[in-house]
Every structure is written in C-alpha cells, then in structure tokens.
C-alpha cells in the first residue's frame, strides 16, 4: 500500500495553534477524565441479565429475537427464511457460520426448498449483484451490545459490508457469550487493537435493527435503504 | 438573622404586595428585615440586551447598596440569578469581582431562603382554592431553584395544586424580548395562557414579577378570570 497524500496541512494547523495562542505541540497526553459514567451502565449484570436487556431493547427496534441451543441455529434460520419468503440468501464466508450448522448440508437442504445459497466470495466480481438480489443476508456478530440491541460487524475480504446492507432482510447469528453491556466495551476493545498497533478493519458497523427513517412528518418508517426486516438468532455457546 | 430585602424594580412598582408579603413572612420566621434605600434595578434589562457598560453601573450600585447586609433576599428568581451573574460581568476588575462574589454568596430568592436557609417548609398559610404554578426559567435553570416553591405550596392548607402542562416552556417574557420580538413573544405567552386555562385553576402562582406581568397580562386581555398571585402572597395568606 503506497502512502496517501496530505495537502495544505502545515499552514492550516499553524493557524489553529496561533489562534489558540500557543506553539504547535509534538505530544498530547489524553487526560484522566473526571467522569466515566459509561462504565457504570449494567456493570454488574450477569450474562442472563444482559440477554434480558438485549431482548427488551430489540422490541423497541423492530427486531425479532430467537433464542436457541447451538444445535437449533440452522432450524431457526430456516424458519426465518419461511417468514421472509426467502428465495435466496447470501452469507459471509465465515467458519463460525458453518460451525453453527449453516454448512454444506444446510445449503443442500435449502436447495431442496428452492432457496439459493450464495457465499460472499472475495475473488468474484459478482458479489454486489448477488447481494442486491438476495432476499436475506446472514452475518455472525463479532460483538453484541445489550443496551442498544446492536451487533458489531468487522469487515474483511470474507466478511463483506454489503451482506448486512443490500438484501431486503437480515439475520445476525449471535453467540450469547458475545454480549457485553454497551458500546463502551466494544470501543474499548477497538481502542486496544489500535494501541497494539493493529490496523483496524476498513469498516466496523454497529447495527441496531433494520434501517428506518422519520423524515416524513417524524413518522417512523421501518425499512429505507438498508434491510426492511431483521432477526437476531441468539444461541447458547457456554 | 438580619435580612436585607431587594425588592426589584418590577416588584416595587407592579407587585408591591409581594414585597409586603415577603417582609411579613421573613419577620414571622424571626428575621430582622431592612430595606437599603439606595437599591435600584439589578441591571438585567441592559445586561440581556448587550449593554454591559450600563449593566455594570447597575451592578455596582446594587453591590454597594447591600455591602453591609448579612443576607439579601428577593422575591424574584430572575433578579437573584442576575445578582449571581455580577462576578462574571465585573471579572475585569478584581476588586469589584470579589465584592460581587461576596454578594452572590449571601443572596437568595425568597422561597430558596425559606426552605434552604431557614429550614421552613410550612409557612402556616391557609388559602382556599385551586392553583397552578409557573416555574420561571431563570429561577429553575440559571439559579437552580427547582423544588423549594412546590415544597412550600404543598403545605398551604386548603390549596389544591394542579400541574401546569408544558411547564418547562418559557412564557415569552424575556425582558426586552417581549417588546423587541413582540410577535414571537405573543405566540409564546398565548401558548402559556392556554395551558393555564386548560388546568381550570382559579389562580396562577409565580415567583417572578416579569412572568406574572406577561402571563397575567394575557389572561387579563382574554378576560379569563384567572387571578395572578406572587408566591409570597399565597405563602403569607391566612
């Protein structure tokens, strides 16, 4: 990767320092903040309590939650296909999805039911067209936020952004162990990655239910440019 | 306890009864009340309009008038808040800034003084009727006095308090705002008067002469029959 360009910077930043009445500085220490209320939210909640918070919040964001054992994930997905009248689905090329039963056998079963399977394919040019036409997109949740009913997705070549975006409906597969109280825990982990010198994924999405808008008379419409419906399938992995 | 009364210009001229009631209330709770003759206006009309040079003159006059006082008590949340503002207004002059800080420390709005300094929550008042209370913006938001008036009113025998809808909204007085932006001010006071009438209360109680002039003026124009009273008049009623 060649380095990008930075233009006009010196005069721009010098002007800022001048307006602040000081010289430019080489180093700034982040302050020890006086307030840290974000760490107190659901600080002592157990995994079950977090799940309750999560399910309650999902009612507010028009998202169905299905709780299953690990062995029941594939069946729950198939049932959701039924509700969404799925003709095809697209999912990440993710071993974790295979591990919960969305494997070759599942794909075979879906074929019998006339539901086409598409797997995100880093070496194909066809992903976007497929994503645009698939009825359902399926991803795994990298982290899950109880307070806001949010799944956190880290993009990669096998984990395309479009899977959770272009299909008309969306399913997230959520291991119960991925539940944390709120965004605080997720951003802390991301911050740790940066501190460790890792390059972050090019896209990190915090997704809380289907897309929506209240731009017309402040009246809520669910389903705008992103998915119109969303289902979270939470499985017990402990 | 020695208390100096700051009557305020509106109180002196438009609500003299509130001043009398304040004196009688304070005396009932063993305060020795005096009235420094050189007091004028707190300077808020000039300050809020941006004429800070003129506001400073008023500030210095007020500071000097109450220099010897042990406590300064005023039947106006808005003017009390203005007295608390002096130290910022005069911050370019250390000597006056210090004097202003000293004034702020000993200055109280009357209900705040009764509840928080004298520890009085029941003034022994009786008043037969239904009333609603207007929370003035400067008293609640700038001075931070939120609970004292209701604590006192709840203990008035015979008085039934009815919650005022949208009480958080400004009545549209805003000092010079009422004459500088008369149309907008009119819409705001109309809304407030409508809310007052919606309660079917006989009386509108307030703790700031400005708001009472404004809402009362609207209710009077509409021949609503709603009586407007300063809170001290109610608390002093037998």
């Amino acid at each position: 990767m060649s380095r990008g360009t930075v233009q006009n910077r010196t005069s721009f930043l010098n002007n800022i320092a001048e307006k602040m009445g000081r010289a430019r500085v080489d180093h700034v220490e982040r302050p020890v903040y006086k307030h840290r209320p974000q760490w107190e939210v659901y600080a002592d909640a157990t995994a079950d309590e977090l799940l309750d918070v999560f399910k309650e919040q999902c009612q507010h964001i028009h998202t169905d939650v299905i709780e299953v054992e690990k062995s029941g994930v594939a069946r729950a997905v198939a049932e959701t296909f039924g509700r969404y009248q799925a003709e095809s689905y697209l999912m990440w090329d993710d071993p974790r999805l295979k591990d919960v039963g969305l494997d070759d056998r599942f794909q075979e079963q879906m074929k019998q039911l006339d539901v086409d399977t598409f797997i995100w394919n880093p070496v194909s040019d066809d992903n976007i067209r497929v994503a645009e036409q698939a009825t359902v997109g399926i991803t795994y949740s990298d982290m899950t936020l109880a307070e806001s009913g949010t799944v956190v997705l880290f993009s990669s070549s096998e984990k395309g952004r479009a899977v959770s975006l272009l299909p008309e409906t969306y399913i997230a597969i959520i291991p119960k162990s991925s539940l944390v109280p709120r965004m605080t825990q997720a951003t802390y982990e991301i911050h740790q990655r940066v501190e460790n010198g890792e390059r972050l994924p090019s896209c990190i999405n915090f997704i809380s239910g289907p897309s929506n808008s209240a731009d017309i008379e402040m009246s809520l419409v669910v389903g705008v440019h992103g998915p119109v419906k969303a289902t979270y399938i939470v499985f017990d992995d402990e | 306890m020695n208390v100096s009364l700051f009557i305020t210009c509106l109180g002196d001229h438009f609500y003299p009864n509130a001043g009398r009631a304040t004196v009688e209330l304070l005396e009932r709770f063993d305060c020795d009340v005096d009235f420094p003759a050189t007091q004028t206006c707190c300077g808020q009309p000039a300050f809020n309009s941006g004429y800070h040079k003129d506001a400073k003159k008023a500030a210095k006059q007020t500071i000097t008038a109450f220099q010897e006082s042990e406590y300064v008590v005023t039947p106006s949340g808005s003017c009390a808040a203005m007295l608390h503002e002096y130290s910022h207004l005069l911050s370019d002059d250390k000597e006056w800034e210090q004097k202003a800080e000293a004034l702020a420390e000993k200055t109280f709005e009357v209900t705040e003084f009764l509840v928080n300094v004298l520890g009085v929550e029941d003034t022994g008042a009786r008043f037969q009727g239904t009333a609603t209370y207007h929370t003035s913006c400067h008293m609640t938001r700038l001075l931070g006095v939120k609970d004292a008036p209701m604590k006192l009113l709840e203990n008035v025998k015979g008085l039934e308090m009815i919650d005022l809808p949208n009480k958080h909204d400004c009545c549209g007085f805003g000092g010079t705002f009422a004459v500088k932006m008369p149309q907008i001010s009119t819409e705001m006071v109309q809304e407030k008067a409508d809310c007052v009438r919606e309660t079917n209360a006989d009386i509108l109680i307030g703790a700031d002469a400005g708001c009472l002039m404004n809402i009362g003026g609207k209710l009077s124009r509409e021949k609503s029959g709603v009586r407007v009273m300063h809170i001290t008049e109610v608390l002093n009623h037998q």
Binding site: S2, Q7, F12, L13, M218 | G50, G217
Partner: protein
C-alpha cells in the same frame, strides 16, 4: 446551498414562519415527541448530568489540542493510502472535490447527509461542472427534488413539509402515483435511489466524528444510505468540519451515545459506521480511493475566543428541539442552514454580524437550550455575548435603544434620580391607565399591549408602604 439562505429580512421570515400553520403544528408535535423520547433514553443511561460533564470535558480537551489531533488523524489516513486535504476556505474545499470528481470522470455522485457540504455549497459547484449530484438521505432527497428547498432542521431537514406536499413533489418530479402514506412514499424513494447507488462513480459523505488514533471516520445514521454511499462507489470523499474529531474510540463511544439520545432519543441509531481508510487488499466492497477534506471556513476564527465552546457542538439539534422560539417561527426564519439556538450562535460567527444581527435576539434567554445541550455549551450566554458585541462593538443597536439604555445606566446608578423616576412612573403612564391596567400604551409599551394588558404601576409602591411602616429608610427625598 450556502450557509445563508433566503434573502428576506429577518422580520419577514418570522412573519412567514408564524403564518405557516402546518409547519408550526409539525414542529410542535416533533418537539413534543422528541422531548419525551430523549427524556426516556437519557434516564436509562444513569446519571445524565455525569454524561454531559464527560461530554463537555472530552470536547474541551479535544478542541484545546485540535491541531495535534488533526495531525494524528491525517498521518494515520495517509499511512493507509488515503488522501487528506486541509481546506481553509469553502472555495478550496470545493475546488479539491471538483478536481477529484474530474479525475475520476464521475458522472453520477451520490451523497449522504452532510451539513458542512451545505455550508460550502459543494453541490452547486459539482453541478456547475456538469455532474449529477444525488442527495440520498430521505429528507435531503425530498428537498433536492423540490427545487432545492432549504433545510429547516439540522437533523430532520424536511420537517417543515407535510406528507401531501411530499406526495405532490414525488408526483410532479418523479412520476409517483400512490398515496401520501409515509411508508409508501419511503418505499418509492428506496426504489428510486437503489439504482443510483449502484451506478454512482463517486460517493460523498459527511462525518459525525473522526477518530484521530486510527484515522477513522464515523457516520451516525438510520436509513442506511451513508453505508451505501461508502460501500458501493469506487471513490469516496468525506468532508468534515475541522472540529468534528475525537482522540480515540473511547471518546467516540461517549459522544455517539450523547448524540443518538439527544438527536432522536435512540440508544444508538440503526447504523454507526466506522470507516478506516480505503478498502484493504482482497476486500470486495468499500472504496478503492478515499479522500478526507477537512474544512475550516471560518471556524478557526472562533478558537481562542469566548465563543470557542460553540465548536463543541455535535449537531444533535437538542437545543433546537426544546426552543420555544424555533417552535413558533420554524427553521427557515433563521435564514441559515444552522437554525435554532446553535444557529443563532454559530451563524454570526461564521458569516459575520452585518447580515445576522437579529439572530442573537431571537431568544427569550430561557436557557432551555443550555439545559438540553449534551456537551454543555452555554448557548444563552453566547447569545448575550453576541448582543454585547452587536451593541457595544459593532454599534448595530438602534439609536433609541442606545439612548434608553444609557438613560437606564444613569438612572439605576444614581439612587436619587431612580427614586424620582420611580415615584413618577404611575403619573407618566396615567393617560393610558384605566383602572389597574394599561390596554394600549405608548412607544415600546405599544408592542406589549398589542396582545396583552400591562398592569399599571402602583401608586402605592413597596417603598411607600415601607416608609409608612415607620422604619424610616427608603423614603423619597
């Protein structure tokens, strides 16, 4: 669309607003709904005041070290192969984006919501260069196809329009043939825009907060259009006001939490998207080329002044949503794309006092805005500070007002004079007094008595009573 919109004088714009019954009804119900939702969602955070304090300390620290964090941000982006352009003026920013669009031979450009691109009139520049620019936020889309009607609210730009007006716009401009049901209207917009996303050569986004430590930008949205704009076109240009930055992802959490609650009463919006550089090796979606344009356009003039905290604004519109003045006059009355209390504070700072001298007076100083602000900007104090500059420095106050204030200053600082005037107040107003009230008064009182009565000054003032009581102080001389 430039910062300033419309050419009418402030008073005329206010009249237009006051006469627009639909707009006022829409604003009122929106304010009520949002107030309720914000209240509920803020309570659930625990100690809301501690959150606000934290928001304030984060913004204060960041703005105090803005040059450092912008340098870190730009280094990190360049490291990943992205391009950063620092634009001191709107013209520089627009010229840069125009050049990127030319190089990419971009015919079709899709845009997600961005206030700063409105402020610098980027669309006009690109359109003049022969490119098609499509706003994809539903509200912005409606305004764009309705002959570029200006936004009236920072978060909900088409708040002033009702559903039947929107249906008519869709029908006339886009051949829509269904009802005015918001679901159907939205569905139509989705269908209209989907192909545009797929065909676009260039995507332009705003930026809610950039994250210095990782060279990321974040987008806080509900509709999903910003995700499409940043995932599908081969080139992405993000335009940010220079103050929209946080040091690390930890601060991002706090500000995003405050923003979502304050803006729309949601815990998080449907999508919080963190974008870090162009797509990486092997990735299919995401832009091949990423440009960040960091815009000053007058902001640096605010740094180091008493107004610096105005730059703490996170554009949540919480102040707009509680403002009673905004409720009655609507967003267009402010004549600026930044409206409500924050608009009245920011517009004169960015655009000067000359054309905006009425804005700081469009407030009763009730301080509901200050109380609502999630990062504790003392908005009403800034309005007073503006008024001071307008009257004492710019000398833009009217002559009668200046004289009456001078008279006031003299009167209140000489107690004898004050007492003389005080004693005679009821006499001066006697000709207009009927009983205990004045229903039609002279000069300034006339404005008051147009819609309400004024109690007549009492002949028996407090002072008179006090004197009779025999304590001997406060008497007239």
């Amino acid at each position: 669309m430039p910062l300033r919109v419309g050419s009418d004088a402030f008073a005329e714009r206010v009249d237009t607003g006051l006469e627009d019954a639909f707009m006022r009804g829409a604003v009122r119900s929106a304010q009520e709904r949002l107030r309720e939702r914000k209240h509920t969602s803020s309570e659930q955070l625990g100690d809301w005041e501690a959150w606000r304090d934290h928001g304030e300390e984060i913004r204060t620290h960041t703005l105090n070290h803005l040059d450092y964090y912008l340098e870190q941000l730009s280094d990190n982006i360049a490291e990943m192969g992205g391009h950063v352009f620092f634009a001191e003026t709107a013209e520089e920013a627009n010229a840069y984006v125009r050049e990127v669009a030319r190089k990419k031979e971009a015919k079709k450009i899709v845009k997600s919501k961005s206030m700063v691109t409105e402020e610098i009139s980027l669309n006009e520049v690109l359109e003049a260069d022969g490119r098609e620019v499509i706003e994809t936020d539903l509200g912005e889309y409606i305004l764009q196809i309705d002959d570029h009607d200006p936004p009236s609210h920072i978060v909900a730009p088409a708040l002033h329009k009702n559903r039947s007006q929107i249906r008519d716009v869709f029908t006339e401009r886009k051949g829509y043939s269904k009802t005015d049901d918001p679901d159907e209207l939205t569905r139509f917009a989705r269908e209209q825009l989907r192909q545009e996303f797929l065909d676009a050569d260039l995507g332009i986004t705003g930026c809610n907060f950039a994250v210095a430590e990782s060279g990321s930008i974040s987008l806080v949205t509900n509709e999903g259009n910003a995700r499409l704009v940043s995932a599908l076109p081969k080139t992405q240009v993000t335009v940010m006001g220079m103050e929209r930055i946080v040091p690390t992802w930890e601060e991002l959490d706090v500000l995003v939490s405050l923003l979502c609650r304050s803006a729309v009463g949601q815990k998080l919006t449907s999508y919080i998207t963190g974008l870090t550089g162009p797509k990486t090796e092997g990735e299919v979606d995401g832009p091949e080329e990423f440009h960040l344009v960091i815009v000053d356009n007058g902001r640096s003039k605010i740094l180091g002044t008493q107004f610096q905290s105005a730059l703490h604004c996170i554009r949540c519109a919480a102040c707009v949503n509680v403002c009673p003045v905004y409720r009655h006059v609507g967003g267009h009355a402010y004549g600026s794309i930044y409206n409500g209390p924050i608009g009245a504070v920011l517009t004169p700072l960015l655009d000067g006092y000359e054309n905006n001298k009425d804005l700081p007076y469009a407030s009763s100083l009730c301080a509901a805005c200050t109380e609502a602000c999630p990062v504790k900007i003392p908005l009403h104090e800034h309005l007073i500070a503006h008024r001071q500059i307008i009257t004492e420095k710019e000398k833009l106050g009217s002559m009668p007002e200046r004289w009456s204030m001078r008279l006031f200053g003299t009167g209140v600082s000489r107690s004898k004079l004050y007492r003389l005037a005080s004693k005679n107040a009821h006499l001066a107003l006697k000709p207009w007094t009927k009983g205990d009230r004045i229903s039609s008064g002279p000069s300034l009182i006339k404005e008051w008595t147009r819609s309400r009565d004024l109690p007549a000054p009492s002949r028996d003032r407090f002072r008179d009573w006090w004197m009779r009581r025999g304590k001997g102080e406060g008497q007239d001389e």
